[in-house]
Amino acid sequence: MKKNLTRSVIIAIMKLSIIPALLLSFVCCSFAHSTKSQDLLNKKISIKVKLEEVHAILAEIEKLSGGKFMYSPEIIQSSRKVTINAKNEKVSDILNKLLQPLGIRYEVMNNYIILNRENDLVGILFTGMRITHDNIPVRVVRGNVSIASGESLSGVSVTAKGTQTGTATDNKGNFALTVADNTSTLVFSHIGYQTIDFSLGSQEIITIVMQPDAKSLGDIVVVGYGQVKKNDLTGSVSSISLKEMKKVAVTSLDQALQGRASGVQITQNSGAPGATTTIRIRGGNSIQGDNEPLYVIDGIPFKNDGAFSGASFNVLSTLNPNDIESISILKDASSTAIYGSRGANGVVIITTKRGRAGASALTFESYYGVQKVRRKYPVLNGQEYASFLNDVNINDGRPAVFTQAQVDAFGKGVDWQDEIFRNAPISNYQLSMSGGDEKTQYALSGGYFKQDGIVKNSDFQRYSFRINLDRKINDRLKVGNSLSINRTVTNQSRTDGALGSSGLVTIAALQFPPIVPIKNADGSYVITSPYLNFTADNPVALALDGKNKNTAFRIFGNVFAEYKIITGLNFRVVVGIDGILQKQDSYVPRTVSSGLSQGGLAIISNSQSVSWINENLLTYNKTIGGNHSIILLAGFTQQANRTENSTASSRSFVADNLGYNNLGLGAVAITPGSGVGTWGLQSYLGRVNYSFKNKYLVTASVRSDGSSRFGKNKRYALFPSGAIAWKVNEEPFLKDNKRISDLKLRLTYGLTGNQDGIGNYPAYSLLATQNYVLNNATATGIGPSQIANPDLSWETTAQADIGIDLGLFNGRIAITADAYIKRTRDLLLNLTIPSTSGFPTAIKNLGKVENKGIELNILSRNLNGAFQWTTELNISSNKNTVLDLGGATQIFAGEVANIGQNLNSGIIMVGKPLGSFYGYVTNGLYQSATEINDLADPQAKKPGDRKYLDLNGDKLINDNDRRIIGSAQPKYIGGITNSFSYHGFELTVFLQGVSGNDILNANRFELEYLNGTNNQSKDVLNRWTTTNTNTDIPRATSTRPANRISTRQIEDGSYLRMKNLQLAYSLQGPVLKTLKVQNVRIYITAQNLVTWTKYSGYDPEVNRFGQDSRSQGFDYGGYPAAKVFLAGINVTF
């Protein structure tokens, strides 16, 4: 079936492909020379053509009459063929014969013959200001249009304001236009440049210099498989202001989106260079499946998922953010349903820069800056720690460890945080060239970015190259490509690791006693000491000698061809590839105890992931009469991926200095591993955009997806959507309203899916390696590991959205507000099944999650004169509720370790949001033995121990006394940008924040453990003693009760951050000419300058478990965020 369908489509296309050959001979060009209009119409010519296209006939008439036709190509159907036979007839008569049957009117102005459809809106307007050709005096204006570099600009539209009279500049930038003598203003416009209204004086020759316009792209919004005018959007789409986004120095483009769009929550999981983010567009739909949006970069879909830790490598960082031309974030189902089974989490569409005809530019951009740790954790110094140790021993009835003199001698001791942190440079260099002529456009760029991390021995480097080409082969066929080749090298610090694990730089720096020296007398790193009675590695040795490097090489690009079959009908074929080669090298040195015990451990992992995609799209644009405009899209796409990986490791090295470079040097080889994963997706898609009178807009789309990931029984699914919008301001009653310049109401509904985050073969029955040992040798064992689920299918999200776009005071204020409700059903849940089956869990489609929320965007141009002040505000609120868990009322979730007694940190409970923390409620400390006896808590021994609420009133403190104690999901997220500019100076203040979320600060387990094994937070100076009882810090004792996840570790994670403060100056006027440059911009920037938060950890932006929805908002040994100070320059030649 499928094959037959494909074949018939191909045959149809092949037939169509004959057309361009036939049409090749059609060339439209003519030369204007001044003739009085009446003369033109009265001129007698002879013409004889048989079944020729109208275009060709008009061209012939131009030649014979000396006049020039002006018309929009859409008004004449290419396929329409006409026969005409005239001998020495007036041009007017010939035109009447030719055009009237086609419903086309004509007007003549000087030597221009302007064609319009009879019932065209423009035509009606034109008729309203009809000019009779006899009595109007006319004049000819000539001139040249160029850009600041002096290069001429072709194809610039030049019109007399308020009329249809106009022309375009030729390839030397010259134009000549005959206008009515009373014409006062000429309008020069060109895509990508600021439109110029030029006041016409008496001069005949004028010179225009056009300025590039970053905002003009905002008028066109890139949506799935196409573009629409912002005005015509029916769905909820945020287009990101690149101008603002680019003011922030970031490693990866996802970071730059933070705070820029309503409804889009972005969390930097870790402060490490090249680390991942977690993105939730309108909340998380899925519990176990993937919640990250789909990225579509130059048409190639890509999922940036699988970051299981904050320190994971961010694959998106392999793309250079400076190459981006536009970003749209599709949020509602009407916009995302065209991406079907991968659209449920929203879609981020990114296009990279392409060349423009005539606009040649060479741009150099660079910045350099310094990063500093935002704040240090206050921990005990040497003296304080020594006294604390004494206290621990005395409390347990043992003698003090140190005399007062010894305590004093420790002084401040070692500040381990100072030893691992540094001020680190960040720099970026980028050279780009773009330009072209009418037929060929190019955009090339090369970049180098380097960010040293504030933790020693961590850094990120990116080398990037891009080449985007476009070539018009003829009027019908256009080909082009996008290609980027990037290499990144990331030295990752060991942070954000498993709880209680030994090899973590940041947490070890907090834990290491200040009384332990960094090195022994012989210069070697301290590994053992009487004061080291816990499992953590010397943080300095670990930071400096440990190696953990990711090298990624990515080839990303496509080739495409666009063919105009007939006017309005286009066929586009794209073939793309995304190849990611990654190598992860790691070495744990013998200078730390975890490395020493293994004699040094080296691991090398390689993975190569190659995806290819093919898209075949037909689009049809048609305006029927003046009222009906329709755009049809039909497409067939297919994508497949193959990922192969291997890991090799060995240990017991004679020396550390070669690190992981020669595994053969390790005396003990460790069993290698490898694997292959593949998936494929085949999709049919269609969309209709219809508008009536440019007032009522309707969009309907459908996509059918087949995925290799799902069970044979449920492989295909259908994702429909619909939207209606009403441009109220086009109605007569609002048309001339001075206050409301724009008002549009939108209503959308649709279904989208999610198929990611569950591995490649979730539906299969799998066998796995289950080895045993025979005769001291490993013997291969193979047995069942996964049970088949042939009924496994998509998670489906139904979303309804209602929105309003409001423009006030001639566009000075633009407001967009949306409210939505999303219900995700058939969740991909890895459910506990009866163990008697032999399988602890199985992936099934069960359960429901709801997200509902509101979003508000306000753009206000407060001051519009020489001093300009613009404010952009976005704020949104999302409420997430788990509606159903397939019958269960709750699922314990959230990563844990021994540190929390193996109890989960979170719970997924029906009626509650995802990301709920679950634990005990502490209410201070036991103050007396009576209090302890009143409540049976196996963990409480003496006054000064932490006290917990007996929630179920059974006088016993146990696991049943837990409840939801916090939520990782913020109530509000938002950002506000204020920009001020005056004569080339520009000041930008960007604030971003979240409110109402909690963080589980697991560092407190280590820093408030009070048993004298590791360093403690400064708070423990206020610990409970018999004389200091009014405190919530327990007593010091070597036999601490077990850790319990409780309200003690839950902290308010709200913050407001001055994300960016930038002062820039752009050189003005004559200086540019003198320097022979188009544009020079210099700036200084401070990022993360101030953060207002109550959170006591390094930074409130933390997510130890990366994108895992079940363990959100967890901080354990995170990599701190940095304050950054930058200076930069952009020069365009």
Binding site: K3, R7, I13, S17, R398, N474, L477, V479, A561, V573, V575, S593, S597, Q598, W612, N614, Q639, V668, I670, T671, V676, W679, G680, Q682, R709, R715, N760, Y761, Y764, L766, L767, A768, Q770, Y772, V773, L774, N775, N776, T778, G781, I782, G783, P784, I787, I833, P834, S835, T836, S837, G838, F839, P840, Q901, N902, P938, D959, S1038, T1039, R1040, A1042
Partner: protein, 478 residues
């Protein structure tokens, strides 16, 4: 014409692309049941997988010690040490609940292993291969199925009896079968294994279940069921099998790495020093302040004063089993630890990590068989010479005087005491206390502060299992 070629090229690309079956992606780095179970090698691998789970932390590499020692008078938790591990503390203090994770871990691992056994038992018969080898492999799978069910039935009582491979997500809820039915199946499987398994294996397959192991387990099953005659018969069959079973001259020799799978070994869990297949005991039982090859141990299973004092000073087994540290010794124990005693039975000086020891875990040593024989004979009548011979053989090796002239009760007590000392920290204590119904009294003697309630003799059915399977009833009391 160039553009036409281009179009054709693109169309050709499109045709090629659509021809590939991109929705048919089958696993390439995992076997599936469809492309496995084809020949003798596959059958062997399927049976190796059946043994595998014993050597994981879910069973004998951790959970079994916690259950056998922590919940008895042999090991304690706390007493000056960190009590951070709640499940261990709960087992020690008898504050466990159906939600205590240890139960779920063990229950789930046993059934995972049982499904592997059932899979082997169903998938191997159709394979065209050497029939005697096939029969032997099926015998091994039955042995191991009986082994896992025997573990479950003793700790939980009635348990679901699943004897078919699970291939679908339908009908997964199974009710508990009476313990009697489970025992019937266990005896059936061990008997089938006993009939088919060889007395010994070639060097390459050393470590697999033998005829002697099946007989020893049958003896243990009958002992548990107080079928004394059958128990003594089976024990005697092991002794007379001609497999060369005997005791090492010194108790400590039984635990030397050089003597793995030696003459005293009847069935032991195999480990080599590789990560993933290594033993955890040497690292986990050593205290944190005693580093070997720079690795701190975890100090699991800290022995009680009760077991330390149970050894006579002249008993050579004491120092081979336990090590007393002190605050002034080397290495020095933290003074906070009230009784700084740790298990020293399992040492591997070559281990380079806590989870890569090469010690095997002795599930049944020949000493166990002798003690089972003595016990079963004594229950059939006091004053049995063979019973004394067996018991005294154990005592003599330990450097203790022979017993003689004991009453039946005194003999019974002596055997149990000998089992406690001889087999300490080998995964027997709770089972022995359960079948002799002495768990409550033993705990009270060790620490009167711990009140074991009568219903706690059986562990609770894990709460998670009951949540997903309403057919599962709970043991009384929980």
């Amino acid at each position: 014409m160039k553009q036409q070629y281009f179009i054709h090229f693109l169309l050709a690309a499109l045709v090629l692309a659509s021809c590939s079956k991109i929705l048919e992606k089958s696993p390439e780095s995992n076997f599936t049941p469809d492309n496995f179970y084809r020949n003798a090698e596959d059958a062997k691998a399927a049976v190796n997988a059946v043994y595998d789970l014993m050597n994981t932390s879910d069973i004998y590499n951790q959970v079994m010690w916690i259950i056998q020692d922590q919940s008895t008078d042999d090991a304690e938790w706390g007493n000056g040490r960190s009590t951070a591990n709640q499940p261990k503390n709960d087992l020690d203090k008898y504050t466990f609940t159906p939600a205590t994770v240890t139960f779920q871990t063990l229950w789930s691992a046993c059934y995972r292993a049982i499904n592997r056994c059932n899979t082997a038992l169903e998938r191997i018969p159709p394979i065209n291969m050497d029939e005697p080898l096939k029969a032997r492999l099926l015998g091994e799978a039955k042995f191991m199925r009986a082994f896992y069910y025997f573990t479950l039935v003793r700790l939980f009582g009635d348990v679901p009896l699943v004897l078919k491979e699970t291939t679908s997500l339908n009908n997964l809820q199974v009710a508990r079968a009476p313990a009697e039915d489970v025992y019937k199946q266990i005896i059936q499987d061990f008997t089938d294994a006993e009939n088919i398994l060889p007395v010994s294996y070639s060097a390459a397959e050393k470590g697999k279940a033998t005829k002697g192991a099946a007989k020893a387990f049958l003896s243990k099953v009958y002992l548990t069921r107080e079928e004394w005659a059958k128990a003594s018969t089976k024990a005697k069959e092991v002794m007379d099998l001609g497999a060369g079973y005997d005791l090492w001259a010194n108790f400590a020799d039984a635990f030397l790495l050089a003597n793995k799978n030696g003459k005293e070994s009847v069935f032991e869990i195999q480990a080599n020093g590789l990560i993933g297949e290594g033993s955890w005991m040497q690292g986990y039982m050593r205290p944190p302040f005693d580093r070997v090859n720079n690795i701190a141990g975890f100090g699991d299973d800290p022995p009680t004063q009760s077991i330390y004092n149970a050894f006579q000073a002249t008993d050579t087994r004491r120092n081979a089993t336990l090590r007393m540290y002190s605050a002034t010794g080397t290495p020095a124990a933290p003074a906070t630890i009230v009784f700084p005693c740790y298990v020293s039975k399992y040492l591997d000086p070559g281990a380079t990590g806590n989870n890569d020891g090469s010690n095997n875990f002795p599930v049944i040593r020949y000493a166990d068989v002798l003690l089972m024989y003595a016990e079963a004979l004594n229950e059939q009548g006091a004053g049995n010479t063979e019973a004394y011979n067996a018991l005294n053989k154990i005592r003599r090796r330990a450097g203790l005087a022979d017993f003689s002239g004991l009453t039946q009760t005194a003999f019974r007590d002596s055997v149990l005491q000998e089992r406690r000392l001889e087999l300490a920290f080998e995964g027997h204590r709770r089972f022995d206390l359960l079948r002799t119904k002495r768990l409550v009294s033993a705990m009270t003697t060790q620490n009167p502060g711990i009140a074991v309630k009568p219903y706690q003799i059986l562990f609770p059915v894990p709460q998670i299992e009951r949540d997903v399977n309403p057919l599962l009833t709970q043991n009384n009391g929980y």
